[in-house]
Every structure is written in C-alpha cells, then in structure tokens.
Symmetry: C2
Subunit: 368 residues, 2 copies
C-alpha cells in the first residue's frame, strides 16, 4: 500500500510516523527540499500544475492532502485519470469554498450562524442592518488561520475584497467558547468519532486544545457528534473531517468552519488517543477499517508552539524543557521560527486537566 500526499507541511509530516508504524509506504509532493515533511518528499513541484500532480500520482494507490489548496480542475484531472482521490473533489469543494459550504449546510438544516452572500457594498449594508451593525466578512477561498477574515461595522470596509468577487458575510456569534468535533470516514461509509474538544483561539490561530471539552453537556456532545457524523456522510468525506463549532451562551452549537484533513484540533490524538488522527486518516483513505478513537487518559491538553525563539535556535530550549517537563510530548515540525508561525506543539495527558494544561503550557513556554 502506497499513499501519496500532496503538500509537505506539518500535517503530511505527522502522517509519516503513522505510515512507518503501519508498514504503509508514503510519498509526499513537497513545495521544496525544505518542506516540513521532507523525510518523505519524493517529488517537488507546484500542486496547481496538473502535469506535476499527475506524474506524482502515477506510483501511488491513493492521493490525499496536507492542505485544501489543490484546484478543482487538477482534482478532476486526477479523477479522470483513474486516480483514487480522497477526499474527492465534490467533498473537498466544501472545504475550499466557504459560500458553497454555507449553502450546503443550509440545505441540510445544520445549525450555523446567520450568513449572506454579499456581492457589493449595498448587500453588505443590508446584512449589517440585519445582524445589528457588525459582521464578519470572509473571502470564500484561500483563507486560513485568520487570513481572509475581517470584522466590519460599515459596508465600505470590504470594498478591496469585493473588487475580487462576492464575499461571505456572517453574524458575529456571541459564543461562550469554541469546540471542535473530529471524525473520520472511509469510502465504504464507516465513521469513527473522537471525543469533542475545546479549542482556544487567539489572533485567528488555534492556541490550545483540551480533550475532552471540559464541562460539555451530554446534549452538546451528542449534537456535535451528530452534526459531524451526518456532515461526513452527506458531503461524502473520505479521511479526517474536523468540524469547528461555536458553543453559544444559550447552549447551541453552530458550525463555524470545517477542514477535510487532519486538523490542529486533533493533534492531541497522537499522544492522547488509541488511534491518532494521522493513522486514522491513512486508514480511511486506504479504505481500511477505522481504529479505536478512545482516549488513553482522562484528559489531554495540547498547546501550540507559535513563533519560536528569537534567535531561531530550537535546539537550545530542549534540555531545560525536557528536564522541567519529563512527561510532556514535544512535537516540532522542522520549520524555521518566524513570528506567529506554527512550528510545533506540546501535549500532556493525565488524570487531572489542570495539571496537563500546566505541563503542556510550561513546556511550550520554553520556546518563547
């Protein structure tokens, strides 16, 4: 069995240990020799170039992804060439285009924030009036980690983006906190569901994840599970699907965004679950039976390493970190430190959430 991954970022990198353990060959189409997943990079090229991607796909049993940026025409060319593409183009479109997703969620009756497709300032003004004067506008495509997202309180504040096409406008949800529900689905239809988690964002970037989501009601857990399960089926997802959710003050959950690949909200599963999201993604895209999603400890806490040391030396903090936090699981992505960049994460597990959070934060802080 040989899996080809398009994109050489940290998600591809973290698939490699899972592939090695399962005895699955893994090949990565990377951006450069210096890609995070470089140990498995077998080709370097542009994922927007059909010829590059088709040539890469020739020697693998299935193609999957480190990111959602492969254009639809390239995905279609793969399918037309008989390549198993998982997730497939129809499913992936919902992770590529936020307007397509919102329309589909509406059709499916899935709870989500108020939203509108706005093509000009007048439409945005009308939406602003409807939702109380402030809204989030998003470019339908290409946004990530806070890019392509802007809070506006007047209709002219999105003129620059509107020049490029219609935008998604959403109400500003007064959420209590953010949650994420991770599931995996294989082509034959089986779905595996991990525990619901709480995610803490800052500056549009995931900072911390607590698993399971503390103090979540049984109803919230059930609704979140049902939403993610039914979305995986309805959209025909193959592989991991992460559904980002708002938990509102009046105890509803609304779908914020989704990702059709391993996701930051699931990094805790490497150390905290029987089957990690990376192993599960490989199983799912190969249409192998899915593994147990049970947690291996009552609590897991994951803290991202953002930016890194000012001197760029990631080796320097390691001795002190490891001496101070011998139970912390450090994961570095082989990326050069740069302000705000996700360069790694730390997970701690245990019987006490506060202690796990403390350990993971203390370890991650050594990289500041």
């Amino acid at each position: 069995m040989r899996v080809g991954v398009i994109g050489g970022g940290q998600l591809a990198r973290m698939m490699v240990p899972a592939a090695i353990e399962l005895g699955i060959e893994i090949a990565v189409l990377g951006e450069s020799q210096d890609s995070s997943a470089r140990i498995a990079v077998t080709a370097i090229g542009d994922h927007r170039d059909p010829e590059v991607v088709l040539a890469f796909a020739r020697d693998v049993d299935v193609i999957t992804f480190d990111h959602e940026h492969v254009p639809q025409p390239v995905l279609r060319a793969l399918v037309d060439a008989g390549v198993a593409v998982r997730p497939g183009p129809e499913a992936l479109l919902h992770a590529q285009d936020k307007l397509v997703l919102r329309e589909r969620l509406q059709q499916l009756g899935v709870p989500q924030p108020e939203w509108a497709r706005v093509a000009d300032a007048d439409e945005l003004a009308a939406f602003l009036e409807r939702v109380g004067g402030r809204a989030v506008v998003k470019t339908p495509r290409g946004g990530y980690d806070g890019h392509g997202v802007r809070v506006v309180s007047s209709a002219r504040e999105a003129d620059d983006w509107l020049a490029d096409g219609p935008l998604l406008a959403e109400e500003l949800v007064a959420f209590r906190r953010e949650l994420a529900q991770l599931v995996a689905r294989r082509p034959s239809g089986d779905v595996a569901v991990w525990p619901l988690v709480e995610t803490v964002q800052g500056g549009g970037v995931c900072r911390e994840v607590f698993a399971p989501a503390p103090r979540a009601t049984a109803r919230t857990e059930r609704v979140s599970r049902e939403i993610a399960h039914s979305l995986a089926q309805a959209l025909g997802v193959t592989g991991v699907l992460a559904v980002e959710l708002f938990e509102t003050a009046d105890d509803r959950v609304l779908v914020n965004e989704l990702a059709m690949r391993p996701h930051n909200s699931g990094h805790w599963t490497i150390d905290g679950a029987v089957t990690s999201q990376f192993e599960q993604h490989l199983r799912a895209v190969l249409d192998l039976p899915l593994g147990s999603t049970d947690a291996i400890a009552p609590w897991s806490a994951m803290v991202n390493v953002l930016g890194g040391p000012a001197d760029g030396d990631l080796d320097r903090p390691m001795p002190l970190l490891m001496a101070d936090q011998p139970a912390a699981k450090v994961h570095l992505y082989g990326k050069a430190p740069r302000p705000g960049r996700k360069i790694g994460h730390v997970t701690a597990t245990g019987a006490d959430l506060d202690e796990a959070v403390f350990q993971a934060r203390a370890a991650a802080a050594f990289f500041a």
Copy 2:
C-alpha cells in the same frame, strides 16, 4: 540536532517516528535500498568498513546503532576521529562479547548463571561435570535470536565451534520465566528505568512481552531495577540498555544477556509508556534529559509477528485484522515475510492483562 544510526533494521526504523516528532534529523547507514529503515537511509554500505562509516559520520552530531555488530577497530576509528559514539566502544564490547560480559558481571558481583570459558573439549567436560551433565554453549560473538547457542550433554558436541576459539559454557538454569529490565542512561549519568517486563521466548526468539511482569514481587522488581541501573553505570552505557533476566524457581534473578540498543522487550513502550524506548534512546545519545518512563495503561501486551503470510502479501490480512481488533496497534517493519523472521509486532493496552494479551494475539494471528 542530527543523529546517525549505523544499521537499517527495524530498530533504526522505529527510531524514525520518534525523531520526526522531536524535530531531530535522523540519517541511517543502511545495508541496502531495501533496508527496513529505508525512509531515513542516506548512505548504503558495509558497517565493517572504516571508510564507509567515517564518511557517514561526518555530517552527524552523534553516532548510534541499530545493532551491535560494528567491529571494535571501526568504533575506535570513529572515536579517534572525534565522533561522539554512543554507546562507546568500551561499553559496547560487553554486548558484543559474551565472555567479556560474564567476566565483568563476576567482577561486579552481579548474579548470573554458573559459567566458564572453555577452550577445548576437556574444559567443556569439566564444566559439564560441575553443572550436572548438561550445559548451554555459546559462541562469544555474533549470536542473536538463538543463533550461536546450543545445549550439549557431552564434551564433543561443540568441537566444530571450538575449532574457531574459546566458547562460553553456562549452566542450564531451571528458570520459572524470563524477565527483562529496560533502562536508558545519558552521558551525564542520569538513568531512567521502565517497569520490569516478562518475556516469552520460543525457539530462541522473543514471542511475547507482558508489561509490567505479572505477579512479580516487589523484591524482584527492586533487584532487577538495581541490577540494570548499576550495570548501566558500571559499563558506562549511553542509550538504551536491555538486561535479559532469568527468574528462578527459588525467586532469584540472574543476568542472561544484555543489549545496548532498543530491544524487542521494550517495543511495548511505543504504545504503552509515556516515553518510548526509541524516543528515549535518541534523547540519551544526544545527552538530553530523559523522559517519563511511566506506563500509560495498567497493562500492555506485545506479540511479535514472525514469518508472515505464506503468499508474502502483508496487505491482505490488514482489513480483517483492523475490523476484528480496532484497538490493536500494528507495527510492520517493511520486511519481506520469511519463515521465522521478525517482520512486525502488535501491542494492546488496557485495564485487563488477559484482554490485552487476547487482542494482541488475535491481531498478530491474522498474519499467520
């Protein structure tokens, strides 16, 4: 940080996921393009050739090993060239030469079976008389997994081996079971100790491991820990040290053999301990602080996959195995099936030993 591993077998292979997660670069000197650790192989050559090994060592911060077969003159050449070799030649000699080990254990007063260095049939006859007419003879060097080991009851049965030099003769220990104590030591002296385990051998090959060793007395655990800890210090081991032990019917523990590298008796730590032996080995040889050796579940059971399917197809059993045992952790080594060959292992963890053993055995049986 860049670690160079001499030898491309499954132990090198299983260091790779640990290196990827920690952000440590890993390079392997493999036997062939087809080595088990091929994803990290950066050079192919003979580990007995000083030029090959010195060239490989040029670009790494430390040299360590997949096996103990690098000759002493090659190890010395590395040290003379200023390379950090961990474990170093003096320590490694005790894992390379069983006579050297027995002599050293005697000096240190470590409990071990009755033994003698026998240079000819007369000396073997004298030893046989001393231990009751039957003994184990071992070639001092090059043995592994039952090779170079023979049970004899007359002095002429080792003539072929004696022609090549002196042998180690040992009493046949009437042991109740075999145990193994895994530790790791870093150059600065810190030693980390995992729980004592029970190992089940068959045909000279490890078949199963139960962690922790069921029904071990506190005294057995303490003595085993003390033996391994003091040996790591006395021999100046850097990296993982596995001490294979006999537990006798009268509740003593005797040192059988030792290995200065990750060891089959420690494979359970990948899924069953906070820090796996592979991560710990990397930390130790880089002189980084050692990680927690706590188990993450009350029980772990590891079952080796020996031989593999007669048709050589390792992909075929996977769907049924995974459907039947969703919590089993399957590890395959990227090696072609061959009768008796170690090609993988399966670990299961949980609150109940019998259930973990059942799961691991059931999963491994799919490869038969």
